[in-house]
């Protein structure tokens, strides 16, 4: 508990620090509502993918999902191509939007189930399996779209997902927060969450305890795929067009976010709230550097620095300071304690 609380406090402090720094540099315009909204609507794409990576990592045994962004693009491309042949976006915008959303979610879910089934039943190592499916998903998207961008357009409902606000909060961010809360609740309150974490901690013990191992694996990758599908919808809603090679840099950034959030790459531990905060921290930092007009190479450097800092914190705890943490943090009880 000490570790997770420490990580969370650290993330909150860093987020606060970045906001203050941004305000100082920009003379306040960094905290203008337009920029806060702009940043909030940029986070969901990558945040959803990072939660997927987190779930796969929690499953242990080298669990990881490299196919996230490829599946998000595939969902958008295939759904747009199929739905536009049945429904016209211009004459019946809301029907098209609903059909597009349903299609993208379904394709994301299907892709995730394929990943899970390959890993659970054919026992393919996750990193190899998802690398393979990543290429397959991307290739399929190229074939379906002919390598060109597919126009989704701005039909009423989709366009409001991409551009409108609810109580000053971008709808895309509300969807992201809702999805994150749902996954967090799933991990906290259902047997699935317990199975996942225990299986990640000790697969052998989980096997002897009679956990539905294959079911848990398939469900994990299916949820990850589902989140990719939702990311695909948000990408389409914001950018008007979808393309097979969008966000090729997201693959590594999603993993970076998960690791920075203290998700254990060897499995058994991960917290959705931390992943959300970690995604926000990366967004704040990159927007901050863009505000300052600094080179994007500096951003890579700063991200690396942030990651190393977090790894150092983790390493230092493992090195045997746990007792002292308990002594010191328990009485002062850091205030925000999320689920798990």
């Amino acid at each position: 508990m000490g570790k997770s609380a420490g990580q969370l406090v650290m993330l909150i402090v860093i987020n606060g620090l970045l906001l203050v720094l941004g305000a100082l540099i920009s003379g306040g315009s960094f905290l203008s509502s337009y920029n806060l909204q702009s940043m909030a609507s940029q986070v969901p794409e990558i945040g959803l993918l990072a939660i997927g990576v987190m779930l796969a990592m929690c499953a242990g045994q080298g669990g990881i999902d490299l196919s996230g962004i490829a599946l998000a693009n595939l969902s958008g491309v295939v759904s747009a191509v199929i739905m536009s042949t049945f429904v016209s976006a211009s004459t019946d915008p809301s029907a098209f939007s609903i059909a597009f959303i349903a299609g993208a979610v379904l394709i994301g879910l299907l892709g995730g189930i394929i990943n899970g089934a390959l890993i659970a039943y054919l026992k393919i190592t996750p990193i190899l399996c998802t690398l393979g499916t990543q290429m397959a998903f991307m290739g399929l998207a190229v074939v379906v779209s002919g390598g060109k961008a597919v126009t989704v357009g701005s039909p009423a409902l989709l366009s409001s997902i991409g551009n409108d606000m609810v109580l000053q909060v971008p709808i895309a961010f509300v969807i992201f927060a809702f999805a994150a809360a749902l996954v967090a609740a799933l991990l906290r309150f259902t047997p699935y969450g317990l199975w996942l974490m225990l299986m990640g901690t000790n697969p052998k013990a989980a096997l002897y305890a009679g956990f539905p191992k294959n079911g848990v694996l398939v469900a994990t990758y299916a949820i990850s795929g589902l989140l990719s599908g939702v990311a695909g919808i948000i990408i389409a809603a914001r950018n008007v067009n979808v393309k097979f090679d969008y966000g090729s840099s997201y693959l590594l950034i999603a993993i970076l976010i998960a690791v920075m959030a203290g998700v254990k790459p060897e499995g058994g531990y991960g917290r959705v709230l931390s992943v959300v905060l970690s995604a926000i921290a990366l967004q704040l930092m990159s927007s901050l550097l863009n505000f300052g007009g600094l080179s994007n190479f500096v951003r890579d450097f700063a991200w690396g620095l942030l990651l190393l800092t977090f790894l150092a914190v983790g390493r230092y705890r493992i090195a045997g300071f746990l007792p002292s943490i308990k002594r010191q943090t328990n009485p002062s009880a850091p205030s925000p304690q999320g689920p798990k």
Partner: protein, 336 residues
């Protein structure tokens, strides 16, 4: 633990402040801001463009002009930069889109926010106030072919290379080249439209095949940036430098050796430095609420008599005459 976590926090804070400190001086000013965003930072083409933006900034001290771009070639990364600049509230954006389609949504929001948007290399962009192209594609193809015909003496077999059959501009270039070659009855086109995929090695192999198949071939017209390197190497190794003509799109620095040896007859390109200046000049004109008129002089070399037509969206398409054909004698003026 507390003291250590404090130390770490201080460390992170110090690092962040030291990174951000130089930025503080950049932001706080009231001059109109024109932000140029390129496809990718740190490659020769866009380094050359940044010299143009710097020259514009120097000539216009009343305007804050700067260039930025993503560190990786990913349209999503470029999109983020544009998003942040829109949020920051720059006055004008000069964008060279990695993928025009991906930027449409954001550029639309930018225009709605009252930001002037100027694009380059994106004549299909709908959400832009003005798109600047260095030259008319048909004129460029004709000019390349005319140079080739001149070298070939107006007769002999010749062939063409394109990046891919799906590349619209490349097909326009070779298409108008073929039209031009009809003026010379002695010129015979063989095996046209070879796909190079902008890969110098693949092009080299293919050019060797063609040289074997047609030992009497006299000319090559190529399109993608690396094609001249591949074909040039094949000509050079066959000992045909100066005997077989090669004219195509290429950059001066990488082509220098082959131009000197005579394997490449001439290269055609447009100067990104001038394109960067032209974009900023147009952004400035639009900020001053001035009209862009057909035939106007932007005060930039190659853009002294631009054609202004209606673009695919609400904006205009500005086409210059900024093509450069360089050969052994003059490529050294354009080292980039």
């Amino acid at each position: 633990m507390k003291s250590l976590s404090k130390k770490l926090l201080i460390g992170v804070a110090a690092a962040a402040v030291s990174l951000a400190a130089p930025a503080a001086t950049v932001v706080a000013q009231d001059k109109p801001v024109i932000a140029t965003v390129v496809k990718i930072s740190g490659i020769p083409w866009f380094d050359r463009m940044s010299t143009g933006v710097a020259a514009f900034a120097l000539a216009n001290p009343d305007i804050d002009a700067s260039q930025s771009g993503p560190a990786t070639a990913d349209s999503a990364q470029q999109l983020q930069i544009v998003n942040d600049l829109v949020a920051k509230g720059v006055d004008a954006l000069a964008v060279v889109p990695m993928d025009p389609a991906v930027l449409e949504g954001t550029l639309q929001r930018a225009i709605e926010r009252g930001i002037i948007v100027v694009t380059h290399e994106a004549d299909n962009q709908t959400n832009t106030n003005a798109d600047v192209e260095a030259f008319n594609n048909a004129d460029y193809g004709t000019a390349l072919n005319e140079r080739l015909a001149q070298c070939m003496g107006g007769e002999g077999k010749w062939t063409t290379f394109v990046g891919s059959l799906g590349s619209r501009t490349h097909m326009q270039w070779v298409g108008s080249g073929e039209e031009n070659a009809k003026k010379y009855p002695g010129m015979a086109l063989v095996d046209p439209n070879n796909e190079s995929f902008d890969d110098a090695n693949g092009t080299y192999e293919k050019a060797k095949e063609i040289l074997r198949k047609y030992p009497d071939i006299k000319g090559f017209q190529t399109s993608a940036g690396n094609d001249v390197l591949g074909v040039g190497r094949a000509i050079d190794e066959a000992g045909l430098s100066g005997k077989v003509c090669l004219v195509g799109t290429g950059l001066p620095n990488p082509s220098a050796d082959l131009l000197d040896s005579g394997a490449i007859t001439a290269i055609g390109f447009w100067d990104p430095q001038k394109a960067g200046m032209a974009m900023n000049v147009i952004a400035k004109l639009l900020l001053e609420k001035k009209e862009l008129t057909d035939g106007m002089d932007l005060g930039v070399e190659g853009y002294d008599h631009v054609s202004v037509t209606k673009g695919p969206g609400a904006g205009v398409l500005v086409v210059g005459n900024g093509m450069v054909l360089a050969d052994k004698s003059n490529y050294k003026q354009y080292l980039f």
